[in-house]
């Protein structure tokens, strides 16, 4: 049962940050509520105050700014799944969003809430790492941009300070010749493993970013695997996929749990890396 709480309704990001600063750990931001309210109903967390940010202006916008796709933190998964801009410029994110949880979650859950809750089995963080996204955090009087790979600290833990509000996700528009894929696999409600690849293709592979998530405590980029693909021809890189998969498996810090044993997850990571690579190079 949901316990009593006070609902604060700030009118700006600055006011939200001030409330967070004033009430500290007794308050929490409430956006879609798809994770938070479940945890509160279960009694796993208790807050005296929820700070409702759903009415904040400007945080639900999705736009193209020069070479950057700007996604407001309050954009819902459904909004991203159906956005014409993303369908045209970043179909891999559309596909990911289309497969997040179920339609009820996608309709109310927000991308910002998903990232801030940092549930280890969430999908978007992994792809954002591969896309080189930055996350904008605002306080009452300052603003900073955080590379996605620095944002996730541990399970359920981000690098956001107590009075910081995630306001925007900024993704560089992928180059014309690029291949991007996010694949996941699982047999429960949430995935056991998620893996993302973003390649710049110029006949060969001029740049490669690889990220792995869901298997361990937080999504992680895999520079070791990237080095095995970058600067190689597609044939050369294809020969390195098994080693790249092993590097990704090591980086994932896979945990044995209901979603599978460590060995199982590490094996699946290798399989997904191979398939994601094949799908990415097929987009050239």
């Amino acid at each position: 049962m949901l316990r009593r709480f006070r609902l604060e309704e700030p009118e700006s990001v600055q006011e939200t940050a001030e409330l967070l600063g004033r009430f500290g750990e007794s308050a929490k931001i409430y956006a879609g509520g798809t994770e938070l309210l479940l945890a509160m109903k279960e009694g796993l967390v208790q807050y005296e105050r929820l700070i409702n940010v759903k009415k904040l202006q400007g945080l639900s916008e999705l736009k193209l700014e020069n070479d950057t796709i700007s996604i407001g933190a309050l954009c819902t998964h459904y909004q991203l799944e159906t956005a014409a801009l993303l369908k045209e410029r970043l179909p891999a994110l559309v596909e990911l969003e289309r497969n997040v949880a179920n339609v009820r979650v996608r309709y109310s859950g927000t991308i910002g809430g998903n990232l801030c809750f940092a549930e280890p089995h969430a999908d978007p963080g992994t792809l954002l790492l591969a896309l080189g996204a930055t996350l904008v955090a605002q306080k009452s009087s300052s603003r900073r941009e955080i590379p996605a790979e620095e944002f996730f600290v541990d399970a359920y833990e981000t690098c956001l300070e107590a009075d910081e509000v995630l306001s925007e996700i900024r993704i560089p528009v992928p180059a014309a010749k690029s291949g991007i894929a996010y694949l996941k696999f699982g047999y429960l409600e949430r995935p056991s493993v998620g893996l993302a690849i973003a390649l710049k293709l110029n006949g060969g592979i001029s740049d490669a970013r690889v990220a792995v998530g869901c298997a361990g405590p937080a999504p992680r980029r895999v520079p070791e695997a990237e080095a095995m693909l970058k600067g190689k021809s597609i044939e050369e890189a294809s020969r390195n996929l098994a080693n790249a998969g092993q590097a990704a498996a090591r980086t994932a810090q896979a945990i044995t749990d209901l979603h599978g044993s460590q060995d199982y997850k590490e094996h699946i990571i290798g399989v997904l890396l191979k398939r994601a690579f094949q799908r990415s190079v097929a987009q050239k």
Partner: protein, 150 residues
């Protein structure tokens, strides 16, 4: 969940043994453990364990019972507690072993940890990882305390 740790401490066994029974100093080495009280010296103690994973916090008022103790070499203890706020229980079976290695001591412990109730919803893997971190920090803190004073 089963855990095993060993830490080599650069002081003689007697000193490590004395330290274990110096409750206040010993408890200070366990991350998140506070308010230790001796109910019956060498037999029963209470303490409060506070742990945090992201926004999830647990507070277990814990009773520790020493089941066996063999001078300078072995202690078997059981700790149990419940967090009624979130409806979860914890039980730890702990074996502590001391072994001489030259002028050093190897402190080894085996812990069987059971977590029951809603906290388990966080997932076995996440809890195991947290418990592992706590045990590592504990082992390093004991080493630092003892080697620091010699």
């Amino acid at each position: 969940m089963q855990f095993e740790k060993e830490v080599e401490i650069g002081v003689p066994r007697q000193k490590v043994w004395n330290f274990i029974w110096d409750v206040d100093r010993f408890i200070a080495c366990i991350p998140g453990c506070k308010e230790a009280k001796t109910l019956e010296p060498g037999k029963r103690y209470t303490a409060t364990m506070v742990e945090k994973v992201g926004p999830f916090k647990v507070e277990f008022p814990t009773t520790i019972v020493v089941l066996e103790s063999e001078e300078l070499s072995h202690i078997k203890a059981q700790a149990s507690g419940a967090d009624n706020k979130i409806g979860s229980r914890m039980k730890i079976e702990l074996d502590v072993n001391l072994r001489e290695q030259g002028d050093k001591t190897v402190l080894g412990f085996t812990a069987g940890v059971d977590i029951l109730g809603k906290l388990a919803a966080l997932g076995h893997g996440i809890i195991k990882r947290k418990a592992d971190q706590v045990l590592d920090e504990f082992a390093q803190a004991v080493k630092k305390q003892l080697e620091g004073e010699s």
